[in-house]
Symmetry: C2
Subunit: 684 residues, 2 copies
Amino acid sequence: MKLRLFIWLVLMLVLPVWAQQTAGLNLMPWPAEIQVQDGRFYLDDSFRVAIHGAADEALYRYATRILRLLSGRTGLFFPQDYLRPGQAVSSAALVIRCQRVGKVKLGEDESYALKINRQGILLEAPTTIGAMRGLETFLQLLDADSTGYFFPFVDIRDRPRFPWRGLLIDVARHFMPPEVIKRNLDGMAAVKLNVLHWHLSDDQGFRVESNVYPRLHRMGSDGFYYTQEQIRDIVHYAAERGIRVVPEFDVPGHATSWLVGHPEIGSAPGPYRVERKWGIFYPALNPALDTTYAFLDRFFGEMAELFPDEYFHIGGDELEHGSNHPARDWNQNPDVQVLKKRENLPDNAAVQAYFNRRVQAILKKHGKKMVGWDEILHPDLPRDIVIQSWRGRDAMVKAARMGYRSILSNGYYIDLIYPASKHYLNDPLPSDLPLTDPQRRLILGGEATMWAEFVSPETIDSRIWPRTAAIAERLWSPPEINDVKAMYRRLENITFQLEERGLTHEKNYPMLLRRLCRYRDIEPLKTLVDVLEPVKGYRRPHLRQYTSYSPLTRVVDAARPDAPVARHFRDAVEQYLQNSTSRDSLRRVIVRNLIRWKNNHSRLQPLIRISPVLQEVEPLSANLCELATLGLEAINAIEANHPLPEKWFQHAQLLFQQAREPHGEAELVVVDAVEKLAEKATSR
Amino acid sequence: MKLRLFIWLVLMLVLPVWAQQTAGLNLMPWPAEIQVQDGRFYLDDSFRVAIHGAADEALYRYATRILRLLSGRTGLFFPQDYLRPGQAVSSAALVIRCQRVGKVKLGEDESYALKINRQGILLEAPTTIGAMRGLETFLQLLDADSTGYFFPFVDIRDRPRFPWRGLLIDVARHFMPPEVIKRNLDGMAAVKLNVLHWHLSDDQGFRVESNVYPRLHRMGSDGFYYTQEQIRDIVHYAAERGIRVVPEFDVPGHATSWLVGHPEIGSAPGPYRVERKWGIFYPALNPALDTTYAFLDRFFGEMAELFPDEYFHIGGDELEHGSNHPARDWNQNPDVQVLKKRENLPDNAAVQAYFNRRVQAILKKHGKKMVGWDEILHPDLPRDIVIQSWRGRDAMVKAARMGYRSILSNGYYIDLIYPASKHYLNDPLPSDLPLTDPQRRLILGGEATMWAEFVSPETIDSRIWPRTAAIAERLWSPPEINDVKAMYRRLENITFQLEERGLTHEKNYPMLLRRLCRYRDIEPLKTLVDVLEPVKGYRRPHLRQYTSYSPLTRVVDAARPDAPVARHFRDAVEQYLQNSTSRDSLRRVIVRNLIRWKNNHSRLQPLIRISPVLQEVEPLSANLCELATLGLEAINAIEANHPLPEKWFQHAQLLFQQAREPHGEAELVVVDAVEKLAEKATSR
């Protein structure tokens, strides 16, 4: 009891100091251990970097890029051009020291220690990949005052919580040119993600050049595919940033695009056409034919050489998906029925397990370990496969109990447009998960998934970033780092650092609005879209029929997940209603917003009249105006301490209901906040 | 006399109608012939395109892209996915009809006729390339009102004035990744430019992979070069847009990067290092060695296959450049002295002519015609070469008189940051040029030149666009289309259409400011930078020593040529002082700007205190504040009709002088306008 009290007292003394010292730092992901000391290391134009110990070209180039970014941010003209092995660097301010060259593989040591003090900056790491992670932290530490740019004195010891921290990019639904992938790899490196899960084939497109089966990309891609040189270039680009590339070729379902050129391995006679709609479709590889496995053997053999990572993703999802989607083409295929009997396979799940066993053997022959979505979980498969849990955590827990390793994507579906906070609080391995320690070690990490039904190269970055930085922190940092407010504060800085790496999530927002306004002043439209978000979850395709060539340039596409203006408004209302000390300034913020929204509808209408694409959001604009009017009435009543009548609230509720309705697949995200004001205004 | 009067009367009647009907159109380049009729063709979601007559895959893909852009701008869900040969398209609103597949070569027919009326839209062209040009005009015609999107009824017959309309991009001084080239090709196609002049080697870098001499790119590029697959991909991308790619390999000077890996063909013993500074340097190929020509034969042979265009640029500039830059390495090389005697070459110009003759013979053998900068002009060379005039127009005129064809770049040096108007009024072939008609036909056109000492992938688009659209119009449209005000009005629309093609000149401006502000509110900085431009001409490197790895992220780099806010202010002052009818509203515009500028300095200072990179522009901010104060005094005096004393003007002039001084290589571009106000305020 005494010890506890003592610890508590120490914490009470230490924590505020810690919080104060680290409050200004914009690190993300937050390091495992950090101590901030008094003092600053000022940067000047004599700044030099030296690399000691083991190092490869990749680290030299990485450090050169960091040097250029530092020069770019500060405008300082540094003396070094390209860092290269064998250079003698005198009086280097930053010294990097590695023990060995890191391998771009699962489980590689990514730890580092970064010390900044009077003597200079020392970055030490067991591997060059750890040094890369440390260089990103170093860059994030840059600060400035009126005398110049500086780094705070710190002592950081950092290492990832999970070894598999990934981002899935689906390039099948909408093709993403190489530069989109590259700029996202740069963004991933900036927040210490280490796996690009590249979803390369699906019903709507086959995106890799195959030399052994060229009909795959020629007939399955509409001309939009990566050449093998581009693939190699991107894999190399990723490796230079310590990022693994795990390719996914989804089989046996999600395979229409394969069958356009190769109907002979399909379960139905065909002919097949590249799918243009979204959804789950029947085409599937034929599991009963030896030719199917011979085909996969040759094709996966080719791909195994192209993608050097040890892991290879075979999809395996949604062949049978709930009662709405049976495996029709298997059910109707006589060969499959023969196979079932011959192999004693009671149902399609068993057929798929049979298929997976044979595929796994093929992959093993080519030196690969199989990864698949949770549908592939089956005790017949060897224990070195990895399960990716997407329909829930159950598969992950079940897999761990059966001795399988797994990664979590459930809760990280960024295409569903939920706020960063939701993903951030989704711990892959909460302390109360009923698993033993050895079982817990089988949880390798997680992946954010950027499914691409509703993104184009113009908008994809805004769906990935900045929210994925919060997921990156969840997968890297200790579980105790889970303060949502602090996360958002840092995220608002990190988002611009990500933009610096070439990502377009910030700068394309006004660009998309300009086109919608036909290049007139975007301000009234921006005021509206600042408080809109696309509808969440799987709702969008239910509101309108989309195809792969539908425009992704409308208001719903310009609107961003986790709309910052709306979030700030909600936060202000919450704090205001909690009687915060800064109640007065909060009230001003709230009122200023409400007045702007109230006046905005009449400002936006002339724009709508010359830009028909905006007509669909006119009801949202009208609702925002009415909502703001109610909000102003409410806040005036609260301030006057003069409760509004129940009748007023009933009228208000009708409006809240109406204002929650989406239009043009977008929805107002300040209704709850105004409703809270209204509740307060009517409560006695 | 009577006929003249009649013509004059007809013009007086017709011109205003013409001006009124076409005033709203945002076409650029302006078509050769256009008639606007009453009526509108409204677009709806049944819109379909049909291609008849001769057509290749390139046109089908081009039309598909236009369809997607149209869908993107309007948000309409069109029924067609990819246009393909052999499709039966019923009730197409747009019918394209070509007589033959065009060739991507100099002089190809690019004309088209576009008719929009009640019956629909008919685009007819002798070649598929003409159809591409017409599709861009079609897209530019899109307009809207409250009932929907429409195209005005028009009858357009259009053809280019010059067959060679180019943009030079220097990728040697700063490497530009493939996507930078591609998005600029898209921009070029949008304004009907048809030549990418790709400056691929210079002292600072050798940017093409060579299989016959891999030391060229391996040792001369710091790892930044295009692979041959990337080159082929870009050449194909250009050809699909009817754009020729003319490669430039600059010899015998500007060749340091060649010699790093191949000192044996240099004029000095070496060793050589990739040049990091800007300027003119001594390294040059050795013209006296047969091995040099054997080397060029092999290398140009390889490049001749990679670049299918008939023309091949060998540079040839600045070997001897004025008295400051003799051809030192030739002068000091004993072989060259022997060569001079042996071949009876009186000076280095003659040696270069000898070199060029041999190079020309090599190129001819490989099926290429030689292009070079004006230094190569020499009567010994055959008449099928092309001279690119850069030091003045003299070489162009002289070349024409000698029977050589030429293209003009003098006056189109966009890297020198002059306003679009200056380039726009630079007619390559004014009617008073003393040349005969056959000589005039030798003037093929012109090229804007994007030399890359001071641009990065982040900023290059803002140096090329939108100004190059004005040059594109000069080279395409009839010479009578030369109204600067009308050009700027259209340019302000076209600039956003170029952004739609992926160019970053608009959206990177706030991005660059955000980094400079360390992600704080950019408004005070933007207010300043909106009236700044980089220093003009060749002044920048004289103000500060730059290298190829200096940061290009400072205020001068965010500042844009032809700053629109400043131009609008200057126009307003000019019109105000001309006692325009809208004098009152002009005064309000002027005063609003002046007040904002006056107040801005104190708003910017807190930002400067936390962002040291801004310190260098603090004097500009202070000067703008003082300038605005004077401007307000002046306009008040003008309005009060109460002239200010001479002493006031003398004080003001000191400030104007001070305010014209650049800081951080940027300068205020509203000083003249305020000075005009001051002059008016003191005049009686």
